[in-house]
């Protein structure tokens, strides 16, 4: 309008950050580990969005993938086992101005941290969550995790695991107030990038399940997954995650799925014939708990003390 040109320039960042601006140290994961791909894609996302490292925080628990914050040149919190979510939620609650990312593994999230996981989904605070699921405890040298497939032989299950694995997508979809659930694989960097980008752009708890290789303790599974390109099925929809046409052509199977349909998403998550990659479910209007968390930001220490005194005065005799 008003003869203004449409390229309205808002809020230019103060400086330009290149990929190296987000790199820190040399990643100490095993050669060939899928974590490397996630790390690079995450750094690329930060570069595209030109996020200020001083306003970005990566939170993790314990495990191979939880070493992630060490390799990002941003703020980071390598937390307690299973406690990535409470730390991240606390951070977001009091500092809504920060971009919060959670990197967690199948043990950290689905085992010891499962309780916190469920509530974090329900809180639906605005953060991006990457579950790097390699279906094994790698850091402690091969013990079955809750997501290990039936019959996985490990140090704790020498005769093969006997319980069916947790399906993280299904579990997340089953919790009240889930707002963004997507799945991708680490050996498809193009798709993974678009997925974590969509997750970042979603306002709320954006949960990305990344099926990931462990070339040391799950090498058989790796070969099977990576070499079989037919195993992947590309979920497409105008509101879903789209990759460029060249990449899309390489997927032999695809399925049209509307990400606003929760029942269809649940049904799809239960089917195991393909690895479905893309957006299972998104609800842009789910309430976010962090919207209520920052009410007293900006209050001085004196004001807080005064309020505390007032509160205590109620109990004085």
């Amino acid at each position: 309008m008003f003869g203004l040109k449409p390229d309205v320039a808002l809020d230019l960042p103060t400086r330009y950050y290149s990929l190296e601006g987000y790199e820190k140290g040399v990643a100490r994961w095993c050669p060939g580990c899928g974590d490397h791909a996630v790390l690079t894609n995450m750094q690329k996302l930060l570069r595209e969005k030109q996020l200020d490292p001083a306003k970005t925080v990566f939170v993790s628990g314990i495990g191979c993938s939880s070493r992630f914050p060490h390799y990002m040149n941003t703020y980071g919190f390598h937390g307690l086992h299973g406690r990535a979510f409470p730390i991240a939620c606390g951070t977001k609650f009091r500092r809504p101005d920060l971009d919060v990312f959670v990197v967690t593994g199948d043990g950290d999230c689905c085992s010891i941290g499962a309780g916190a996981w469920v509530h974090a989904i329900r809180y639906n605070m605005n953060m991006t969550v990457l579950l790097l699921n390699n279906e094994i405890y790698g850091l402690t040298k091969k013990q079955a995790s809750p997501t290990s497939r039936l019959g996985t032989v490990s140090n704790t299950t020498p005769d093969g695991s006997i319980l069916p694995p947790i399906n993280p997508v299904q579990t997340t979809l089953g919790v009240a107030n889930a707002s963004f659930v997507a799945q991708t694989v680490d050996w498809q960097p193009g798709h993974m990038y678009e997925t974590i980008k969509a997750a970042y752009e979603h306002k709320g708890f954006s949960f990305v399940h990344i099926i990931q290789r462990c070339p040391i303790f799950q090498s058989g599974l790796v070969d099977e997954l990576v070499s079989n390109r037919d195993a992947i099925r590309y979920m497409h929809h105008e509101n879903g995650i789209t990759v460029d046409d060249e990449l899309a052509k390489t997927y032999k199977a695809d399925i049209h799925h509307n990400p606003t349909d929760l029942e269809a998403a649940l049904a799809l998550s239960l089917k195991n014939e393909f690895i479905d990659i893309g957006l299972f479910y998104q609800n842009k209007n789910a309430p976010c708990y962090d919207d209520y968390g920052a009410s007293n930001i900006g209050f001085s220490v004196e004001q807080k003390m005064e309020a505390l005194e007032n509160e205590l005065d109620k109990y004085s005799i």
């Binding site: 990929l19 190296e20 060939g32 920052a294 309020a307 509160e311």
Partner: protein
């Protein structure tokens, strides 16, 4: 301790507390409407119905206001909704700063006036490769423009110095390090090379129309004038040679002293007296005396008049403008002659000035033409003497006229419309190629003597200088504002060299800050108060082709229409379509606020109708109605504001002039619309007739077939009943069934065959050269650990084969084996002398 409810903990956890607190903080930083509330949509409050009596009282008040306006009405902080983006002007991008050519660079580039962002994008595109991802530089063009705007601080600067500072500031700001640094520095160096080395960078300012005029003068006539001066210098040289040659033919040249002076090296050894007697008389023919005289006359005219070409333009300023201390005329038009004229004397002065300059320049062109004829010895006295005798400026070729310094009058529009009008009209009628820059300095709304009183009639039917000039038919008329500077430049620079009178009507917002001035000027264009157009009065061309009104917001509409997202009274998100009308423009002027009255939302009945509907309705439909326009307050709440009858009349007037411009340029033309309607009706009628004919024909054919079928069926039935033979009926119904499916079965086979060919082709291509599927790389470092020279990461940290010869085939094979996603294809060995090749080739095979 005193109880303070405001800071009890319980309050912190109240629902919505967060949002309201955060918004409160936003408000503290900026209370102007429209900004810093990106996440809060403009809203309409829930309506509070009024009791019947109250409603009646309010409406009486409203109707009274509508007819008489109300000197006590207050708009407060209400502003027209669509102006709100302007309150954050730092966040919007415009055509500024502008690059315009100076004397050094005029005519050297495609355009002599271009916005800095277009200039940068153009330069970047000259060295950027096609299909490449945008570089850091191209992503930061907006930032460069912002830095430049900050640096200029409202004053023009020479381009070279300014852009050097801007680019070094960009380097500091972006602080690009790492892999991108090299490419970025490279791009910057290329950009510096591609950018012009001279010119001027102009920011938006109230001076802009005059700066654009200066740039247009330089761009349109300076290159031609330079060429003219050059050719005159060349002709002078040639003519001087002719004169010199003639002198050498005379007997005087054999004088011993002359000979001595021309041969200084061998002076001692030559007897010049002897030599003088030995030399023969000139063999060639001498120039006729009259030719020599003519040549000498030409040379003296050149010497006498060539200085006239050193003036850029002859500018005549009206007294009112020349006394206005906000303009620095000498600084604005450095190379031009500037003179002031008294009120009412403008047209006479410029005509006289034109005659004077014609007196100086016409002999120059006559001399040039004679010189050219003399050099070719083509001057024929019988023909040319008469021709040049009666030669005046009207005989000049249009290219010659274009090289003359233009004669320009700059005057206040009110002055031109007053005493000057008849003389100006006479000037245009005579067809003198004089250009007039008419400056509208104030809003068209006259404030009355004491600044506040506004009589009903003062708003409407003001004389339109542009329209008056158009009616002379042979005048180049343009109307433009500083918010579309490139259109302004193009029309003025286009008009100056033409052998036509020109009138350029511009809007200059003096007395306002730059931000206000930009808003006000834009609103004047958007509200159809001062629409941009050009009328190119070339006689003989079709009338409609002379008009162009495309440089207006939504030229096809009566009023520009925009839609905004809002939260409506029921709390739902919806879209509101808004028109920006002349009334919105008027509302920006605090002196006119008494023509607007906010209407309490309890009174929003059906009698309150949108201003655009009011303007579009029949008179009868508007009885009892009051028009409103939407405005917004500082809390982003939308309010209906009633508009007074005076402003409505003014809107009618503005719309009328806008429709005049529209129709002339072929938009919504009355005759065309009627003709279209007639044609449509005619076609529809013909169509209806044809349809009804066809229907009749069809009905009669149907009836015939039915009759025939009924007869046949009856006959068959009769024969069946008589013969009891049923086979004939069954046989006819099954006759053509079995042949169809054969087509379906044949196609899939063909497709399968085609598909099976494709992989075979791919395989035949895949061997020999080593390669990597870079887009599938998972950045695991494996290959780089084996050989960091052979494998490298691109800027997205994905591996590519940098140099296959930087390592051995063994390393390639090893990398292929280690690559967790098997995207390395080693191909055939490049070095046939490598050891264990057979084994390596066998190992490589499964990756190729």
């Amino acid at each position: 301790m005193a109880k303070n409810k405001a800071t009890e903990f319980s309050r912190f956890f109240k629902e919505n507390a967060a949002t309201s607190e955060l918004l409160d903080r936003d408000k503290e930083t900026d209370s102007t409407p429209g900004i810093s509330k990106a996440n809060q949509l403009p809203k309409i409050d829930v309506q509070k119905p009024l009791e019947d009596d109250d409603l009646k009282r309010e409406w009486n008040k409203l109707r009274n206001f509508f007819r008489n306006s109300n000197a006590h009405a207050q708009l407060g902080n209400l502003t027209p909704v669509l102006t709100s983006p302007y309150f954050a002007q730092s966040q919007v991008s415009t055509d500024f700063p502008l690059w315009v050519a100076d004397e050094e660079s005029a005519g050297q580039r495609e355009s002599d006036c271009i916005s800095l962002s277009d200039l940068l994008n153009h330069c970047i595109s000259t060295f950027g490769k096609e299909n490449e991802e945008p570089s850091i530089l191209s992503n930061n063009v907006v930032r460069i423009v912002n830095i430049a705007n900050g640096l200029l601080e409202g004053n023009p600067r020479h381009f070279a110095g300014a852009i050097a500072e801007v680019l070094s500031q960009l380097e500091t700001t972006l602080d690009v390090t790492g892999d991108d640094e090299f490419a970025f520095n490279n791009d910057l160096a290329e950009l510096r090379k591609a950018l012009p080395t001279s010119g001027v960078l102009l920011p938006y300012s109230n001076m802009l129309p005059f700066q654009i005029l200066e740039a247009s003068i330089i761009s349109s006539s300076l290159p031609a004038r330079k060429d003219l001066a050059k050719s005159i210098t060349k002709l002078t040289g040639q003519l001087n040679n002719m004169v010199l040659l003639e002198t050498s033919k005379s007997g005087d040249s054999k004088n011993p002293d002359k000979l001595k002076s021309s041969m200084d090296v061998v002076q001692d050894r030559v007897n010049f007296d002897e030599l003088s007697t030995l030399l023969p008389d000139s063999a060639s023919q001498s120039l006729a005396e009259e030719r020599l005289t003519r040549i000498n006359n030409v040379l003296s005219t050149f010497t006498k008049h060539i200085d006239t070409l050193n003036t850029n333009a002859f500018i005549h300023l009206d007294e009112i403008l020349s006394k206005d201390s906000s303009y620095n005329w000498k600084g604005l038009f450095e190379g031009s002659s500037i003179e002031t004229f008294k009120a009412g004397k403008g047209s006479d002065t410029v005509q006289q000035s034109f005659n004077e300059s014609a007196e100086l320049l016409t002999p120059l062109f006559i001399a040039k033409r004679i010189a050219e004829l003399e050099i070719c010895d083509a001057y024929r006295a019988a023909v040319h003497d008469d021709y040049f005798e009666n030669f005046d400026w009207q005989n000049l070729h249009k290219d010659e006229l274009a090289a003359c310094p233009p004669v320009i009058m700059i005057a206040d529009d009110l002055e031109l419309l007053d005493d000057e009008l008849s003389r100006l009209s006479a000037l245009f009628t005579r067809g003198y190629p004089i250009n007039v820059l008419a400056v509208k300095r104030k809003t068209q709304i006259n404030h009355g003597d004491n600044g506040l009183e506004l009589k009903t009639n003062e708003f409407h039917s003001h004389a339109e200088l542009g329209a008056l000039a158009i009616l002379h038919r042979n005048v180049y008329v343009s109307q433009s504002t500083a918010v579309s500077p490139i259109a302004m430049f193009n029309s003025i620079a286009d008009a100056l060299p033409l052998p036509l009178p020109g009138l350029h009507y511009v809007l200059s917002a003096t007395g306002l800050s730059e931000k206000e001035s930009y808003l006000w000027t834009s609103a004047a264009v958007e509200g159809r108060e001062f629409s941009g157009f050009t009328y190119k009065g070339m006689l003989g061309t079709p009338w409609g082709s002379r008009f162009n009104i495309l440089n207006n917001p939504q030229p096809e509409c009566e009023w520009p229409e925009h839609s905004i997202d809002i939260t409506n009274e029921t709390g739902e998100n919806s879209t509101l379509n808004l028109h920006f009308t002349f009334a919105d423009f008027v509302a920006l002027d605090p002196h006119c606020h008494h023509h607007f009255m906010p209407v309490p939302n309890g009174c929003w009945t059906d009698d309150l109708i949108a201003l655009t509907s009011y303007l579009a309705n029949d008179e009868n439909e508007n009885i009892g109605k009051v028009p409103y326009t939407w405005m917004m307050d500082s809390t982003n709440t939308l309010v209906k504001v009633a508009v007074s009858w005076t402003v409505v009349q003014a809107c009618f007037d503005r719309l009328d002039y806008w429709k005049f411009l529209q129709e002339n340029s072929g938009i919504n033309n009355y005759h065309v619309t009627n003709a279209l309607k007639e044609a449509e009706e005619r076609i529809q009628n013909e169509f209806n007739v044809e349809i009804s004919n066809l229907k009749d024909q069809h009905a009669s054919e149907l009836q015939a077939v039915r009759d025939e079928e009924a007869g046949q069926t009856m006959e068959k039935l009769a024969s069946i009943l008589l013969d009891l033979d049923t086979t004939s009926v069954i046989a006819t119904s099954n006759s053509s069934a079995p042949t169809a499916p054969s087509i379906e079965t044949s196609e899939p086979e063909q497709v399968q065959e085609e598909k099976s060919e494709e992989p075979a082709q791919e395989e035949s291509l895949s061997t020999s050269e080593p390669w990597i599927e870079t887009p599938l790389c998972t950045s695991c470092n494996e290959c780089l650990d084996i050989n960091g020279a052979m494998f490298k990461y691109n800027k997205d940290k994905m591996a590519y084969l940098a140099d296959a010869k930087a390592g051995t085939f063994a390393q390639l094979v090893e990398a292929a084996e280690l690559c967790p996603v098997s995207i390395i294809h080693p191909g055939d060995p490049l070095n046939p002398n490598e050891t264990d090749l057979d084994d390596l080739i066998a190992r490589a095979e499964k990756f190729n």
